[in-house]
């Protein structure tokens, strides 16, 4: 129903412990953010894309579709970096340093988005969320987050069907109709979602619900080898960047 989510459940990396994937993705992300953008960002992007399209077998089309939104923001935002306001040249002028600055930030953010998508495309939330108690989050909160995750699909499904029905009665034919349709869609969803919660409550009571949503979380082995393998790419990127900077600063 949501492309990234659906892909995550069929990922060949699904059975890899989320901690290992987190280490790989987090490590690369830190490299992209903390190291000099040139050459760290292209290296990070190359490694993340190679991992995604190689062993993690993410569909390039799905990846591109998901990356489009954040890239659009990054590019629009970078337009602002090309100009300078209120300087010596007058009200608005092109900043001679602008292109370099925009390129740096665009490169860094694009690399970071690749890391984020690599994680999202390989880590189903049904496997991740129940484990959040292990990093110290209160179980009541984790239960609520997991419930939201389940219920959002049910709600999203009704939203799509209501929207199709509205479109059939020309509810999106012009902007006025559109406002009326989205408003009534929101109201219908609100009422429906809370009725659903009440029915779900009844359903859970039949199965002995007393306030705790305790469930069995599948064991996933956290193998040291996987952790080492996950730590390796970020370390290599860091080492390569350091070598480049060191050589560049050398004689």
């Amino acid at each position: 129903m949501l492309a990234i989510d659906a892909a995550a459940y069929t990922s060949p990396w699904r059975r890899v412990h989320p901690a290992a994937k987190g280490l790989l993705f987090g490590g690369l992300l830190v490299c992209a953010l903390a190291l000099p953008t040139w050459p760290a960002a292209p290296l990070v992007a190359a490694v993340a894309l190679a991992a995604a399209f190689g062993p993690a077998r993410v569909s390039p089309r799905a990846f591109a579709r998901a990356a489009w939104g954040p890239l659009l923001f990054i590019l629009t935002g970078s337009l602002a970096l090309l100009v300078t306001v209120g300087g010596a040249q007058g009200a608005v002028a092109l900043d001679p340093e602008g292109p370099a600055r925009a390129a740096e930030i665009t490169g860094r953010a694009a690399a970071a988005v690749c890391c984020q998508l690599l994680f999202a495309f390989t880590t189903p939330l049904a496997d991740l969320l129940p484990r959040l108690t292990r990093i110290g989050l209160p179980s009541a909160l984790v239960e609520v987050v997991a419930l939201i995750y389940r219920m959002l699909f049910v709600t999203l499904d009704s939203a799509r069907r209501v929207q199709t029905a509205q479109a059939g009665r020309l509810g999106y034919v012009d902007r006025r109709a559109w406002v009326r349709s989205v408003g009534s869609l929101g109201a219908a969803l609100f009422v429906r979602t809370f009725h659903r919660a009440q029915r779900m409550q009844r359903g859970l009571e039949c199965r002995g619900y007393t306030g705790e949503l305790t469930v069995l979380v599948d064991e996933l082995p956290l193998r040291p080898a996987a952790l080492i393998a996950a730590a390796l790419p970020p370390l290599l990127v860091a080492a390569a960047t350091a070598a480049y900077v060191f050589i560049g600063a050398g004689p």
Partner: protein, 213 residues
């Protein structure tokens, strides 16, 4: 308008996370207390969270025929109060980052601050203020005006805060923060100002219908 992953320098990302943390912690505490006091509330909170996510995934018309998404800050603040919205908004933003790639994980703090803290509080303030001012104007008018202002201002405040965050991260080489703020705010206002008006109108329709149920 979600700040993408990696767009902010890490120092800024960390600072905004720290700034959002107390609001989120307070929201989470009141949420978990409510859930502990009344276990039945757990499913209702789940419903509220799912509703917030889906609401922010709805398409609303924008300029030039393209589509955008409502922030839901105004509606959420009026329906659930700002402290709860800090928690629900954070969860929503986390799901948006992981399921839709809207916004990032390191920029989660910054996005939470603008969309789940500043937006809802601005909306809630506008709502209370307009309600007080228009108290004599009749329930329908007063509620409509207050809800419109809450949703439109909540949306505008969110976008303004995002522009502030970007301007602080990337000050103008000549004029510093003010110049940069003007540039970012100017670029994004093309889409965001009409969007705020439309979100206001949509929210009025929505709340009017809810009042009749």
């Amino acid at each position: 308008m979600h700040i993408a992953e990696g767009y902010l320098p890490w120092q800024h990302a960390a600072a905004w996370t720290a700034a959002a943390a107390p609001f989120v912690a307070h929201g989470v505490r009141s949420l978990t207390q409510a859930v502990r006091a009344d276990p039945d509330a757990k499913l209702l909170v789940g419903a509220a969270g799912a509703f917030c996510f889906v609401l922010s995934a709805l398409k609303i018309p924008s300029v030039s025929g393209s589509c955008s998404h409502p922030t839901g800050a105004g509606l959420g603040a009026v329906l659930f109060r700002p402290p709860v919205m800090a928690a629900l908004g954070t969860i929503t933003l986390l799901f948006q980052a992981l399921l839709l790639a809207h916004g990032g994980l390191t920029t989660l703090g910054a996005n939470v601050f603008s969309m789940a803290v500043v937006g809802p509080w601005a909306a809630y303030g506008a709502y209370r203020l307009v309600r007080a001012v228009t108290a004599s104007a009749g329930e329908q008018t007063s509620l409509g005006a207050a809800v419109f202002c809450a949703a439109a201002l909540g949306s505008l405040a969110t976008y303004t805060m995002t522009s502030v965050q970007l301007a602080l991260a990337f000050p103008d080489p000549a004029s510093g923060f003010p110049g940069s703020f003007a540039t970012f705010a100017g670029i994004f206002s093309v889409t965001q100002v009409p969007l705020a008006v439309i979100e206001g109108l949509v929210t009025v329709v929505l709340v009017r219908l809810l009042c009749r149920v």
